[in-house]
């Protein structure tokens, strides 16, 4: 369980002016929940995720994961990056085994676990390729395998499919669902896509911009497992209603934003 309370952060922008990225965020993520986070650009989604990952400091508030306060990165959390962040000189196998190697897991064991996960994300046979030889979708499969290899309790994903094409994204969504359904863990998944947020999430957190705050949390009462019938699910009444509702809220936020141009300049 992740508990976030009163989380605040103000950055100093390049011109010296303060940018309030998070203005008091309270959020509880349940064990083995798939939580998706949606919000306008610049509302502090990445900032919040990096804080959970222990990569970013904050000014006030508290984050605990499994009851332990976050003081830095830890083996219970791993992150999947939008730009993949693969080591370009290392093979797929070495990239996937990277976290295990840092932890000092022996070569035989980490190779076995890495191979296992490479197969799980559908990349068997590509073990000795380098990232430069892979498509974007394949690279993110490597990123996911690397994150799962360390057997985290929490998977933090920052727009993981934002940099791949539409068709690949749909495949990756289904694959991620299948992996998660077979092997549950807590996921915090940031996205710009309402459809993606609803398709994947148990709940969708809607954040508002400047300062970043939780605007609404929407339950997604769609049946699981979802990976087997994504098409049918997308035609269901609940799915259509929830995405429509999310878009209404987001559009309002964008309009408020347009009405306050001085704030826009801050970004």
């Amino acid at each position: 369980m992740i508990e976030i309370s009163g989380l605040r952060k103000t950055f100093t922008g390049q011109d010296g002016a303060p940018v309030q990225a998070l203005g008091g965020v309270d959020l509880t993520v349940r064990d083995d929940e798939f939580l998706t986070v949606l919000g306008p650009s610049g509302c502090g989604k990445t900032t919040m995720l990096k804080m959970i990952a222990g990569l970013q400091t904050w000014d006030a508030g508290e984050i605990t994961v499994g009851g332990r306060p976050v003081r830095g990165p830890g083996p219970d959390r791993s992150m999947v990056f939008q730009n993949f962040a693969l080591l370009p000189w290392a093979t797929v196998l070495d990239n996937v085994a990277f976290g295990l190697r840092l932890k000092g897991v022996g070569k035989a064991e980490r190779t076995e676990r890495a191979r296992d996960l490479i197969a799980k994300v559908g990349l068997a046979g590509f073990e000795s390729k380098r990232p430069g030889e892979l498509s974007g979708g394949m690279q993110q499969r490597v990123g996911i395998a690397r994150a799962l290899a360390v057997e985290p309790q929490v998977l933090l994903m920052d727009e993981p499919f934002g940099a791949v094409d539409e068709q690949t994204r749909r495949l990756l969504q289904e694959e991620l669902l299948a992996i998660w359904e077979a092997n549950r863990l807590t996921v915090v998944f940031i996205t710009h896509s309402m459809e993606e947020a609803v398709l994947l999430g148990d709940r969708v957190v809607l954040m508002s911009a400047r300062p970043g705050q939780i605007a609404e949390i929407v339950d997604v009462p769609l049946d699981r497992p979802r990976s087997s019938d994504v098409g049918g699910l997308e035609r269901s009444r609940e799915y259509v209603e929830i995405t429509a509702h999310l878009w209404d809220r987001l559009r309002d936020m964008h309009e408020e934003h347009r009405a306050a141009p001085s704030e826009q300049a801050v970004r």
Binding site: G54, P75, L102
Partner: protein
């Protein structure tokens, strides 16, 4: 880059008749040799003998062991001086590139010594360390270390922040961060600096020996110059050039092994 892109080593197909594919490097060398021979004969001055005479002198000096003995001494000076420079380049350069305070503290010295004419330090080394190997090694260091420090620092600074962040998220400590992520990521630029450093190290070796040493190629080239033996001077120069080319080729060999992963450059194969 797509999966179909060929590895860097292979050149793109060129649609030319086979006969025209003479190695350009060899053609260029042959033309230079002919030019040297012709100009040398036409000029008829003692300090610019034709190539054939220089080669004959080189053969004689090789036969009597003069070249080999001094070459080995010089190579020893070069290897030691370059190794010390390389170690300093990597350690100091990485520290400067990674820690703002180190850069603030050392930057001014490094840039000053990078641009200072390195040979002015030779008399100092000579008076402090004497005429032995340590003086030559010190001169080689002054010639080659600073360019490697500066390029390593730049290379380290340019390592993408997202790779460092990724490694931190997996719990990397500072040592793992530097050795597993930063240095590999910076290696293409670092090796470009190492190549420059190697070229400068050869210059430092020969200049240092000319100034200080009692043995080595630099020493015998000075002697030949004093006795107005133009053919011997140029013969030794050929050996020095060979040393320079071989050492840079060695760096390039290492470079290719370490940085084969770098994606294709925009360089034309024309």
């Amino acid at each position: 880059m797509s999966a179909l892109a060929p590895p860097r080593a292979r050149t793109a197909p060129r649609f030319e008749p086979r006969a025209r594919r003479l190695p350009l490097g060899l053609v260029s060398l042959a033309a230079g040799a002919v030019l040297w021979e012709v100009v040398g004969r036409a000029a008829g001055v003692p300090f610019f003998p034709p190539l054939s005479e220089v080669v004959a002198t080189l053969a004689a000096m090789t036969a009597n062991g003069e070249i080999l003995g001094n070459l080995l001494v010089s190579l020893g000076n070069l290897a030691l001086g370059f190794a010390v420079s390389l170690a300093a380049g990597l350690v100091v350069g990485t520290a400067m590139g990674r820690y703002r305070r180190v850069k603030a503290a050392l930057g001014v010295y490094v840039y000053a010594l990078l641009t200072a004419p390195a040979l002015v330090f030779a008399p100092i080394f000579f008076s402090v360390l004497g005429p032995g190997q340590s003086s030559i090694v010190a001169v080689v260091f002054m010639y080659s270390a600073f360019i490697m420090i500066v390029t390593t620092a730049d290379a380290v600074e340019q390592v993408p922040a997202h790779l460092v962040e990724m490694a931190r998220s997996y719990g990397a400590n500072e040592w793992q961060l530097v050795t597993r992520v930063i240095l590999p990521a910076a290696s293409p630029t670092i090796l470009a600096g190492v190549r420059l450093g190697m070229g400068r190290a050869v210059t430092g070796m020969i200049n240092g020996e000319m100034f200080i040493a009692v043995t080595g190629l630099g020493r015998i080239v000075t002697q030949a110059g004093k006795s107005f033996d133009g053919a011997a001077v140029l013969a030794i120069l050929l050996v020095v050039i060979a040393v320079a080319l071989a050492s840079v080729a060695l760096v390039q060999f290492v470079d290719r092994r370490l940085t084969g992963w770098v994606p294709d450059t925009a360089k034309e194969s024309r």
